[in-house]
């Protein structure tokens, strides 16, 4: 069996008396899409924050390509190739669309304060090269974003904000992208575009995997290779969506005990 790209082993965190994530085990192979589903407040976003280092796990380990990254600061985890988007999209609102993507390249560029001051040509060349690559990334995702690349990111409508966040994530040259509810605020056509974008990005970047928190069941049914279900911080099921949705425990998590009995 190939080495999993991401492995969680007994991962958990508690906030005071609340156990937000509890003993989660999970393997994500390379070139794989997994969706995380579960009711609101089940701990899905907390799980993302544990993987990306925003929270330090209370227990368990996070392995990336077999390497222990548990408890590393977020910027180091990002530099190792873990990119993410946020539930409420977090763009650099007052900077241009192009700058937003270029900031995603931070960990791949090198200029220090001294070299920026003493060898400005090299710093400028580095930034120009970033601008060129960022333009290409934008263009591959959306011609419109590319045309508007010098406008501030803050004025974009919701679907384009998501798209820009994905462009920024791609700029990191990631091995793993975590998307937190990418389709929220999108209509059906935008969601279909989103799925096409993800599929195309997967084709163009062999080995790249996606971990996606999603509520839109159409996307969950069509896109991922498998799904995991989280409830009260625990992983309660994993498998194909078509199978998982029939499990009584999953139906209980979504609909409640009574409803399942009546169904």
């Amino acid at each position: 069996m190939t080495q999993p790209l991401l492995s969680l082993r007994g991962l958990g965190i508690r906030f005071g008396g609340l156990v937000a994530v509890d003993d989660v085990d999970f393997d994500l192979p390379p070139s794989h899409i997994t969706c995380i589903i579960g009711p609101n407040g089940a701990g899905k976003s907390t799980l993302f924050n544990l993987i990306t280092g925003i929270y330090k796990p209370g227990s368990g380990r996070v392995l990336l390509d077999g390497q222990d990254i548990t408890g590393l600061p977020p910027h180091q985890i990002a530099a190792k190739g873990v990119a993410r988007t946020f539930q409420s999209s977090r763009l650099f609102e007052d900077l241009s669309i192009l700058d937003n993507v270029m900031i995603g390249m931070h960990s791949r560029t090198k200029t220090s304060v001294l070299s920026a001051l003493l060898t400005p040509r090299r710093a400028r060349r580095e930034l120009d090269a970033c601008a060129e690559e960022a333009s290409a990334i934008l263009r591959s995702l959306s011609e419109e974003l590319y045309m508007r690349r010098y406008e501030p990111a803050g004025i974009l409508p919701q679907a384009d904000r998501r798209r820009l966040e994905i462009a920024r994530a791609l700029a990191l040259h990631p091995r793993l992208i975590l998307l937190d509810e990418p389709s929220s605020g999108m209509d059906d056509r935008d969601t279909a575009d989103l799925m096409n974008d993800i599929r195309r990005v997967m084709r163009e970047n062999p080995g790249l995997s996606f971990l996606i928190i999603e509520h839109d069941m159409r996307l969950v049914a069509e896109l991922p290779d498998d799904v995991i279900v989280i409830d009260y911080g625990k992983k309660i099921a994993q498998g194909q969506f078509a199978d998982v949705r029939l499990l009584p425990r999953v139906q209980q998590a979504y609909l409640g005990q009574k409803a399942v009995e009546h169904a």
Binding site: I103, S107, L117, L172
Partner: protein
Amino acid sequence: MAMTATHTHAPAAFPSALIVIAAEVLGAALLWGLLEANSTPVVLALLGVMGAGFALMQIRPQIEDIIVGAFRAARGVALWVGILIVLTYPILLGANTYAMHLVIVALLYSVLALALNFQLGSANIPNFATGATYGIGAYTSALLAIHFGLSMWATLPAAALVATAFGFLLGIPSMRTRDSYLALVTIAFGIVIHQMLNNLSWTGGPNGLVGIPAPSLFGHSFMQPIQFAGIRLPPQANFYYLALALLGLAILSAKRLHESRIGLAWNAIRADELAARSQGINVAWYKILAFAVDAFLAAFAGTIYAFYVSYISPDNFTFLVSVTIMTMVIVGGMDNTFGVIVGAFLLTLLPEKLRIFSDYRLLFVSVVVILFLILRPKGLFPQRQRHYGAHK
């Protein structure tokens, strides 16, 4: 090619070069008017003219775009005409040494405001301790010059190193806090430094340090007037050119950092710290770097100030100085080099020229800040988006 020019300018009614020259001459003339004005009504009238100009730009943003576009199109002309104006400015002021003094102080404050701009403007770090690092620079070089006989040129790097070390020292504990708590830490640091300067014996206590020797360059003492091609300039002109050189250095540093991944990372931190961390930016380190760069430049300004007035005391480096520097950045325009310099000049000259309001100085500063936050929240000259490649 991916980076073809999309911003071609429509043929303007005036060539860009003319607009640029007119704007620069007008700016220099306004400054000259402010410097030479002796009565409050004249000063107020000049302020009225400037206010009307900005009001016009606020109502009709096209005018602003045309001027900005002209400066972008005629960069070379703008640079050389600007250099010519600032080099010949002392001739214009002639024997008016008071006006010359004000310009030198304004130049030094411009450097300080640019130093703070790395933090406040680029990365949104509210640092109220620029006055303190300014003082550390001034005291370090004054002490070295008085006790060890070092020349100003030798004390410049020494003062910068000491102040940068203090900048790191302040930066590290500051990383444990943010926003208003961070501001409190920097205020405390500023007060501690001020109290130490006031109470230590080797800093001269409240009396400060006197008798800082005048610097010289290639045998030309800075106490001597400048005589060149039949033009005779007062001794202050030496320090005018020195401060100007320092401001040039500060502008160059600001431009180079802004146009590198460092400036981009600072801007990312300003916009959204959490998102910045998730892009691989070491937020704590970049904040500490901003403290260090601020201290480095402030120390240069402090050194030149100390040698210029040849006498320094703790009162030159109070909390109020830090607040004034912060106001300059806010009024001028966050993360816009030119705007910050305009802010520094305005806030240096106005309190001097409007002496009748001198009892209400703090009130004046607060009213100015509040007015700006309401009317033009991004300052006189807001930050412009970066452009890359062929068309900058």
